[in-house]
Point group: D2
Chain length 354, copies 4
Amino acid sequence: MAGNSFGNIFKLTTFGESHGEAIGGIIDGCPAGLSLDLEAIQKEMTRRKPGQSAIVTQRKEEDEVKFLSGIFEGTTTGTPIGFIIENTDQKSKDYSHIKETYRPSHADLTYDKKYGIRDFRGGGRSSARETACRVVAGAIAKQLLKDIRITAYVSGVGELMLEKHYSKLDFKTIENNPVRCADPEMADMMEALIRNIRKQGDTVGGVVSCVIENVPVGLGEPVFDKLHAQLGKAMLSINAVKGFEFGSGFKGTRLRGSEHNDLFNEDGSTKTNNSGGVQGGISNGQDIYFNVAFKPVATLMQKQQTINKDGQTIEMQGKGRHDPCVVPRAVPIVEAMAALVLADFWLLNKLSKL
Amino acid sequence: MAGNSFGNIFKLTTFGESHGEAIGGIIDGCPAGLSLDLEAIQKEMTRRKPGQSAIVTQRKEEDEVKFLSGIFEGTTTGTPIGFIIENTDQKSKDYSHIKETYRPSHADLTYDKKYGIRDFRGGGRSSARETACRVVAGAIAKQLLKDIRITAYVSGVGELMLEKHYSKLDFKTIENNPVRCADPEMADMMEALIRNIRKQGDTVGGVVSCVIENVPVGLGEPVFDKLHAQLGKAMLSINAVKGFEFGSGFKGTRLRGSEHNDLFNEDGSTKTNNSGGVQGGISNGQDIYFNVAFKPVATLMQKQQTINKDGQTIEMQGKGRHDPCVVPRAVPIVEAMAALVLADFWLLNKLSKL
Amino acid sequence: MAGNSFGNIFKLTTFGESHGEAIGGIIDGCPAGLSLDLEAIQKEMTRRKPGQSAIVTQRKEEDEVKFLSGIFEGTTTGTPIGFIIENTDQKSKDYSHIKETYRPSHADLTYDKKYGIRDFRGGGRSSARETACRVVAGAIAKQLLKDIRITAYVSGVGELMLEKHYSKLDFKTIENNPVRCADPEMADMMEALIRNIRKQGDTVGGVVSCVIENVPVGLGEPVFDKLHAQLGKAMLSINAVKGFEFGSGFKGTRLRGSEHNDLFNEDGSTKTNNSGGVQGGISNGQDIYFNVAFKPVATLMQKQQTINKDGQTIEMQGKGRHDPCVVPRAVPIVEAMAALVLADFWLLNKLSKL
Amino acid sequence: MAGNSFGNIFKLTTFGESHGEAIGGIIDGCPAGLSLDLEAIQKEMTRRKPGQSAIVTQRKEEDEVKFLSGIFEGTTTGTPIGFIIENTDQKSKDYSHIKETYRPSHADLTYDKKYGIRDFRGGGRSSARETACRVVAGAIAKQLLKDIRITAYVSGVGELMLEKHYSKLDFKTIENNPVRCADPEMADMMEALIRNIRKQGDTVGGVVSCVIENVPVGLGEPVFDKLHAQLGKAMLSINAVKGFEFGSGFKGTRLRGSEHNDLFNEDGSTKTNNSGGVQGGISNGQDIYFNVAFKPVATLMQKQQTINKDGQTIEMQGKGRHDPCVVPRAVPIVEAMAALVLADFWLLNKLSKL
């Protein structure tokens, strides 16, 4: 209700502020009997963590997840999985300069007005640090989903757009470059662009694409909890996201029905996939694919005018350690949220028919 | 859980198939003491109903909503509002030809596989007829929201895109043309395009834009139930929707932070509004605006190849009465879903602080 | 949230006032493929309906349930099951005398204060008429549960208490007497008592006992949604209920652990069943049994002092047609609520382990 | 869904096993701006903790709660409150003897069958240790409820029943005796009984009564989430609880309506309070009072026959440190659960009318 839970059956509830002692969460509804690969979970954390390359924030967090319950001798027990991640690099003084300040295009003003109080240290709850908990839960969801393969990659940084169809890309290259672009040549250009923008103390937006292969037919709960609607909500709930489209997306609006319809093969698969793997809110067994738009990071290493709590104009400049572009680190978060949605619907779908 | 409810506090649950006796719903959580304008509700129904103009489906439904509870002497009582809308124009035989057939880019196959049974008459539950119930609930939500003004309009039909900023449009013109475009000249072109496409037995997609004015600060429940995340889910749950973007949207991904940041005025309002009225998942008091992408209708009045339940290739052609383009009738649905989201968050926000 | 839904997966939402046009509900989450025996549903309705015998209210309602969706050719489709029951015997004028009056031990004052408005006709939403919808849903739940046998019966009317263990009773006799007591001799005495009390214009309380046989191990979701906790809530949500105990109940508090513990047989069954079929909130395969306490009906056919809205003392006397004792008609309601709880947990339990 | 959350708005989710590293929880939905008295919270923990007197278990736990989020400079921020309580006295080896054993009247068999795996150390999740988290959340709820006074006390131990009406008791004496009985004389007898039973290696059940004073009119959400129904569920979800009754309870079933009805005073209060402060599921402003039945603890310091996983009969005897009677330590848990229910409904009730 108060917005810190996600999912129906496989349900994640998170807590924690950027600069508190720890963040963490509870996963309720993970079935018993799942033998967990804890290293694989930590590996996902490492993909998201700060300081992993020269083009991301240099905040130093080990992001080591500590499980407190729900796992016995390496296997889930069906009881809630509680976990925490310590904030080892809390430097609260970094933020004293914004105590009274509303930073432009941050959540400072809205949190303050909504709650009447604000933990100003590093954005508090509104910081993207919170997404670390999503990655933990998503990593477990991935293991539950076994053969379903979820792959996200960067397809846009600023004006650089990777237009190639995903079937033409080699997903194995994604982790070979710090941008997490699935095309090495484009990756180089994107990296150069980000480095350049960082030098200017500026930031840039981008697009993350995601492909989900090997999806069983039947996932999604119409009419409100359609598969793509829940995926959309999941993605839009990630910090800095401005848009979501799946299948033919916005471009599909320009087509005629005779162009857009996906004709069937005799086995029930389709010759084209403008539907993006979803029909009527339910997976149809084809690949699911979608794009997620991220705005440029709001914290600049440039001077900006803004206001303080009293409505006075002041000048400020970002301090601390920030990402010039979030999309490289957003890739595992997009995958995690997709995994949470699919795990939830995969469980729910077991109850669809007798 | 099974997907037919929307909202937390102001909660709509719907039922009904396209060709059953009636569809309907229950609104639970509408506060007592709201004096309802029943005519205004019916007026919204009329904006959505079939047969309203030459460019929409000619199915004949009065779409008269009948309230069964929760209203006493014109005022809400705080108890659940039950309502039904009769299906007066059920022509089940129209659909006998698709009993064994999976229509391309419809939900026939996915429903059949998920549930093991399918009410094939007119798409059954997957028909957009279900959205009539959303319009009822949305119309009540609008009355609850009083001064918050929600305006949707058609901004794209096929390749015709209305690029003007919404502040340049005269919203009063929207209901003056059958397309519900907010620009009369563009409206004429769009209408001509739709008529032309209909003649070919084809269909076309489009875009609905929505602007919400006079929004109080504080709506939205991060970190998962962010205002724009819930708006996105609401829109994506509407039949035929393929994408959602708010504020700067996908275009915003190409900007630099120094271009994208919305600087504050001294009263806390912002000089620009790339944020689309939402910061950190909470309304900031600026206008909320977003775009919703609709695919072309899948039912064509042309011959198409498809398969039947046994996987045999057959040829089919749409019969009955279908929309060549859904966006004109989608306008009130977009508004209704936006109203549901806002009403829910408006109520929840009363509990944010002591 | 606003309290008119029950269940997690198999979820009932109801609407309707005693004297509106109709009451009804939506069952969301019933799996597809359940072939429904509609006569059996109607039969449950008949067990609850007014006018069925000389010792219950003489209000005349056919209580014919009309299904509007979710069933196709006699089988559930997995989509929400919408239904209505018309109020054919609405006599609103019967209640004009209480328009301004708060009846003692009714919900008149509390509804008025909570909502600021009251549908005074027959108690409005607070009337037990609402339980008809529970019986519809419970009857469907019963069919879903197949071999699980739920049997309720009257075990107390006023000072008359049936102390025999349920294994000594012949459940086949329950429907042979208007009291629905499982012991013919006691049934006669109870009937005589109720007739006598009715003559005096008075009312009396009673106890309904319920036994659930053939329950699989594993139902219930600790730590909060324990099987008996949800059963307790279900029963306490029925009008006029004042208490719930299961297994050894209140008497069990007086025993020593060495007397109370249920020792195991080698097959995992237990030699005694003080646990009432539930251990740690999860069914253990033994019979579940519990008692539900009902207070005497508040509407008397005697003069009583009370107050009106302005706080003035007035004298009133019940008019209309009321039950002198609710327990005979409560029997099918208790069964229905038990069925709803079990169906919900039976579905959820499919997700407990891989 | 998976049963580890309680509440709608003020929502507690817990995790943790008896012998894991820590237990903990998340409170989501506590409004911002509540200035917390952390000492008062810890004091509630101390009332529940083991080792507090000679008649309770001697397990040594400091039960120090550590808040990780949601509180800034002593005040709630509206973001989720995460907390943990370390298990400092984990002695896992104490339990190796029950690894393969199903203890009578414990949840060993049911957890094992439901989940296919069991954390056998100290009952794992089914241990009452979990209730420590409820006390944390309840203590915060109490502070939110301010003037509403919730008082629980022991009214029964075995055959010793305190029959005095609560208005005749001096609640200040409750914490003066280790039994937490509100009558000093009875307290002495109860303590003697418990000591005697402990010597025999046996255990005994009991009753906790609870009185809630100064309750505003309007709490409760009919028709399913009636105030007393949710209170009943809350109590029944506590380990070892077998029954719940409020107001006149089971005894009320024997009364006539003319005896049971609570006549009004002119100010809307009632001359009697058989209703127990609730009418139609909504608080009426009178005192709420109820009784909760607890069974005797299942772990005996005597030899008992039981079975192991393979269905072989074996003999066992409780080791470790167990309570001979749970009711003294259950008192703060009953209060905590009552506080959770009231806080939730107190918040929800703000939305009942415009």
